[in-house]
Amino acid sequence: MIEILLFAQLQEEAGTDNITMDLSNVTVKKLKEQLQNTYGFQQIKESMIAVNESYALDDDIIKAGDTVAIIPPVSGG
């Protein structure tokens, strides 16, 4: 299981602030694609990804038990 935390506008699009997915050993890229397909997020490509509070790159592997934060660009101030 992977816990996925959504922030800002992604919460509205998904209707929740967190998603649990029954996955393991997927790349960040693959997870993004899967989320995109399931939830139709508009800005997943522009979002930063953090796995266990560490900045992640597209080829990084996400393991079961990891917590993933999807961080869309937020502009308000």
């Binding site: 922030f7 660009p73 308000g76 101030g77």
Partner: protein
């Protein structure tokens, strides 16, 4: 307890002390934007005894600001007082020892550069990524630390960018243009603003008193409504070939061709903005938050209140219904962030 000075409780805090207080008094901070983040950060730094603060903002106080923008009152709304001016008068009443320079101006590469050269720190209190990328280039070029901050809804993030040490905004976001969520689109609560400001001003004080060992190296990401708080190590994002902080920087936003340029189209009550090139499809979805969207293969348009915005493929935007570049840019950034 007579004879105690106004900073007594702060100098009693051992990591600051009298020495740190003296350093604060000798420093100059540039606040880019004086809305929600800017007005609160300015208040906190003024109360803390920073020597000099320059506040840049092109906007005036409106009724919808009062829900989250500290320092401003109903009288400022009635008088349509410029935010930088309204803030300065409140700040001077709070601490006459801090020198406040209010500047009512559109923050561009041209208008910011001379300030950037004079200050010890820049605080990002703007509401759009165009300006943030300019700050990033100016800060890297002139080796001035700056503190990124942004929020919408109940979420926000902040990160201190120290040239030569940390990743920069280009390293973090990689893609441009960035189409950021704005408070005009998804709303914002006051505490989300204060959460960003609290972290920005803490790090500002550390940077200004040169407590280098204590400066937070992680990006803070939070959601107060859903009770999330993350301290993200972003060191891996730093890129040697970054166009802004890499080995051979080009500072893309500072080159003439890449700047957002605006002009009034005479006699048409229209302002033309040359901005980032957003894909028309994604614009369509975004704009639908603000009003009815019309589109054809060449353009996308939306009517917001009394103005009509028309976006073209090449990045040009017409804002119909105004002759004011300030008004046009304001509504433009409310939409694209």
């Amino acid at each position: 307890m007579s004879g105690m000075n106004r900073y007594h409780r702060q100098t009693l805090f051992a990591p600051i002390g009298q020495e740190g207080q003296a350093k604060l008094a000798s420093k100059h901070v540039l606040m880019v934007g004086c809305g929600a983040l800017g007005s609160s950060a300015a208040e906190m730094l003024t109360r803390a005894g920073v020597g000099e603060l320059t506040l840049l903002d092109r906007d005036y106080v409106e009724l919808t600001n009062l829900q989250r923008q500290h320092l401003f009152t109903e009288a400022d709304v009635e008088n349509k007082t410029p935010k930088a001016v309204a803030a300065a008068s409140k700040l001077t009443a709070i601490n006459s020892e801090t020198k406040i320079n209010p500047v009512v101006i559109d923050a561009t590469a041209d208008t910011m550069v001379n300030y950037v050269k004079q200050v010890d720190l820049i605080i990002d209190a703007t509401d759009n990524f165009d300006t943030r990328f300019i700050i990033n280039d100016l800060a890297n070029k002139h080796q001035v630390p700056w503190i990124f901050g942004a929020c919408v809804g109940s979420s926000g993030m902040t990160f201190s960018i120290i040239p030569g040490q940390t990743p920069c905004l280009d390293c973090l976001l990689k893609v441009t243009p960035v189409f950021g969520a704005t408070c005009d689109a998804v709303g914002v609560i006051g505490p989300a603003v204060q959460m960003v400001v609290t972290h920005q001003t803490t790090e500002a004080i550390k940077i200004l008193i040169e407590a280098d060992q204590k400066i937070r190296t992680q990006l803070i990401l939070f959601d107060l409504w859903h009770n999330h708080y993350q301290q993200i190590d972003v060191s891996r994002s730093k890129q040697e070939n970054c166009k802004s902080c890499g080995n051979t920087p080009t500072y893309p936003t500072l080159s003439y061709n890449n700047r957002t340029k605006s002009e009034v189209l005479c006699g048409r009550e229209t302002v033309q903005i040359r901005g980032q090139q957003y894909p028309l499809e994604s614009l369509h979805t975004k704009l639908s938050r603000f009003g009815e969207v019309k589109a054809n293969p060449f353009l996308v348009s939306v009517v917001i209140d009394t103005k009509r915005l028309v976006f073209f493929h090449d990045g040009r935007v017409f804002v119909h219904g105004t002759n004011s570049i300030e008004d046009a840019k304001k509504i433009y950034y409310q939409v694209v962030g």
